[in-house]
Symmetry: C2
Subunit: 190 residues, 2 copies
């Protein structure tokens, strides 16, 4: 039952027969995290991709001033990893940490290799996932380069409707690149 | 001969036999652009991907203040497109324009569909290209959110060694998000 949510996500893009589904399921495992527990620590190699079943995580890094900056949030039905560290085997520059009690499906690097060589159409699935990530990031780059804090906050509310209440204010502020006080003044104007 | 550079690029990631190469080549065409000629105009659908053989292009957008901002530069041996518009068929938010006289190989959207359905291993090639784009963009997001103009300029010189002299100063300034005068003062300090 648990893995059905992931299968539905995959079958939006590629069709799988019964055998292929069983093969995929044999490569997956499940993980539960408590709030504040880390999935990935800066400096370690990101050796798995995680699909969120329940809960919420943040991917963050430490900037040149030694402050934590939230790079992205990840919620139900989304994958999270440090994609560069995952594919290249290089040390990660990110932390991934649960913001709530969280349940994820884990797909290990070695398993993904097995999956891609046995069922090559998964290349398409991961190509599409990568493209979706690019669309999101291009928007974020444009926001970071060209938008005021108010515009970035409005976009954030549009991107993550109803999600705002689940996130600590200081982490939304860190994502937007503003101080918690400034975010609070933006919220009060709404 | 012309297409050999692209074949070499592809064969870093996937192996092609003679027939596959010929099939790919049958889908490609070549295009020459004069300096300042556009490959893509904001509002149009990006219906091709382009591989740069010679020259240099910029992908840019107009910010909320009506000013042009350079999103990325593209040089020899790199692909350029508006990937969201290309895959989704949506109107592009970018212009793509030649900065120098430029030669590109064109792969049309319809041809890429033919290519992927006939030689599915190209999914892997495009998945890897998308991942490379993600790595570049993640760096750019971190720079935009967390680095000083001087750090962004130093990173730019590291990312594009020897390229700086080919680009008009005002376009580097637009890429970095600073005024041309400020860029000039950074250069003078070097």
């Amino acid at each position: 039952m648990t893995f059905n949510i992931l299968l539905e996500n995959i079958e939006k893009y590629i069709k799988l027969d019964k055998e292929e589904k069983e093969f995929l399921l044999s490569l997956l495992s499940q993980k539960k995290l408590r709030k504040k527990q880390q999935l990935l620590t800066t400096g370690m190699v990101c050796s798995s991709k995680y699909f969120v079943l329940k809960g919420c995580l943040k991917r963050s890094y430490t900037n040149t001033e030694g402050k934590e900056r939230v790079f992205e949030f990840c919620f139900e039905n989304q994958w999270i990893s440090d994609i560069q560290s995952f594919w290249k085997g290089s040390p990660s520059i990110f932390n991934i940490e649960a913001i709530e009690d969280t349940e994820v499906i884990e797909l290990k690097r070695a398993s993904i290799e097995t999956l891609l060589s046995n069922i090559p159409k998964f290349e398409k699935y991961f190509r599409i996932l990568s493209n979706e990530q690019i669309f999101k990031q291009e928007r974020r780059i444009k926001q970071a380069l060209s938008c005021s804090a108010k515009e970035r906050y409005d976009d954030f509310l549009m991107d993550y409707p109803k999600i705002e209440l689940r996130l600590p204010q200081r982490q939304i502020a860190s994502y937007l690149g503003v101080s918690p006080e400034f975010l609070s003044s933006l919220r009060n104007k709404k």
